[in-house]
Symmetry: C2
Subunit: 335 residues, 2 copies
Amino acid sequence: MLDDRKLAVLRAVVEDYVSTNEPVGSKALAERHNLGVSPATVRNDMAVLEEQGYITQPHTSAGRVPTDKGYRLFVDRLSQIKPLSGAERRAIETFLAGAVDLDDVVTRTVRLLAQLTRQVAVVQYPSLIRSTVRHVELVPLAERRIMLVLITNTGRVEQRVVDLPEAVEEDRIAHLRAVLNACLDGCGLSRVPETLADLQARLPEEDREMAGTILSVLLETLVERHEEKIVFAGAANLAGDFTVGLRDVLEALEEQVVLMRLLGEASDSSIMVRIGSENPYSGLHGTSVVAAGYGSGDNELARLGVLGPTRMDYPVTMGAVRAVARYVGHILAGS
Amino acid sequence: MLDDRKLAVLRAVVEDYVSTNEPVGSKALAERHNLGVSPATVRNDMAVLEEQGYITQPHTSAGRVPTDKGYRLFVDRLSQIKPLSGAERRAIETFLAGAVDLDDVVTRTVRLLAQLTRQVAVVQYPSLIRSTVRHVELVPLAERRIMLVLITNTGRVEQRVVDLPEAVEEDRIAHLRAVLNACLDGCGLSRVPETLADLQARLPEEDREMAGTILSVLLETLVERHEEKIVFAGAANLAGDFTVGLRDVLEALEEQVVLMRLLGEASDSSIMVRIGSENPYSGLHGTSVVAAGYGSGDNELARLGVLGPTRMDYPVTMGAVRAVARYVGHILAGS
DNA sequence: GTCTGGCACTCAGTGTTCCCGAGTGCCAAG
DNA sequence: CTTGGCACTCGGGAACACTGAGTGCCAGAC
């Protein structure tokens, strides 16, 4: 139904439109890409492509512009991810290697990605649920008040102040700390609730109340933070492209929930592309998202990606996202 | 040089321009504000005000618009901070009271302020330098690797992974932890360096090397983080007002350094207003900043504020900033 | 001296018209 | 199936006039 030349025409339309940002006409197209046929022939092909819904014209007597469906076909079958240059890889590596803690890794990553793609970058913090406990610390602050600190294997640190029902001596707290760590060290966060239930049943009577208070806060921490943390950067890159709808996009970026859904569900470690109206949030039609999961080694910890105009250079963007996701994975595995 | 009526005219020009966003003419002005004089008289006054540089006309045959100098006079002498309504106060209070940790306080604050003022809100994390140490924790991760966690009285938590030169048993680490906490508890962060120097001299010979490594990382943490953390929200509110220059503004917002300077130096606890070209960064002429310090009790921990078009409602904005700064102070003092 | 009404002047913004040219669709011939 | 030719469409820019809000200035009133 679409022969090779028609596909070549579609590819040419996408490439030209992406680079010029202007509707592309049959003549210019026949010249710039050596298709070996005349403009008239190209016109016929374009008419077919338009009929099938892959391209459209903004108005009569203008060139053609790809539709979302057209971009989709381009991404799926007509393009290859473009790897980064050696210089770019090295730049990424050295830039990320300078990070001192998790916060820093995430901040650097999001800025790097924004700069690399000249679009808006979005990075999700490593998911608590898929992490494991590295250490639990109880810090006495006052007689009836302690601070609970939870450290995960991905370097994430969560803290809560806990008010106790009664005054508790430091050594009982120290003991609880030891027990907690013995139980939880290396324990996957998703298995923490059951582990804690077990633990509490085994505690001596007099510690039950205190421990109950602390453990319930610990559980709360896990549940609350199920609402994952997510950041973005590069909003300034929007200013060039968009004119209308920019407000919608900015609003979407500030909604954690929307942002989460934007990056999509865990995929089979390949790159996800969402084009225009494929996006879940209506304010983001007209934008595309390229996202991938990242993690240390095999399991996906979280996701990152970029958001830009539908009219973006998909091969390059996908290359950048893939590369950054890999390097972040390495960094997290190494620390 | 400027009699009362001329000042009243200036005030009227500012107020009308702020609310309509259109150059205001003599006729409309004489009608809407009951100045008790004719348009012709107002025209004469406006001519004087223009000559003095308080207002200007975009082009001949248009109304007048306040200049930066005009806004300055308005803010300094012609307006009063407008307190929030009771409902708004209560909303602030309940919204901030729900915060679970420092991160949460800051995030909620910045969103609140953005929503309240319908502008871009900027909040600086409580300064490390002016905080005091609440606790230092050393967590063994592996034989030659520990995690250093620093908790301040403002609830801020800093962490670093430290690689040790030699394997160290846990009890030596526990001992060092005890010593560190004994020395540093309640110590102002600015005094930490000297305190640590003292401490190291008093340590037993065999602990020197290990302790040196740890302490130097601790010092690094303080120095590095001297570059303070700062966040913003409400970028979507820019989309309505600005058309050109928006890119500059967004870029400025993503530059930590610019953002820092934006909020200004510690002031004598009053509200700072920077109007248009008074701003340090040239991309931000055309915008104004209203900022204030906040803190628990007497000492200023950090600053917060909003950024908006020069044409903003200063009395209302100042009221909101002041109120939020106060409540955040209370919250931080209470936890 | 200060205020006011009158009047001529200026000019941004809008609407109208006209024209150009890029690009199209269609058709008949190769 | 491809190609050149041709009539057609229509967005966008240039030229133009018109309108009206707003101004500056002046002479007379208070």
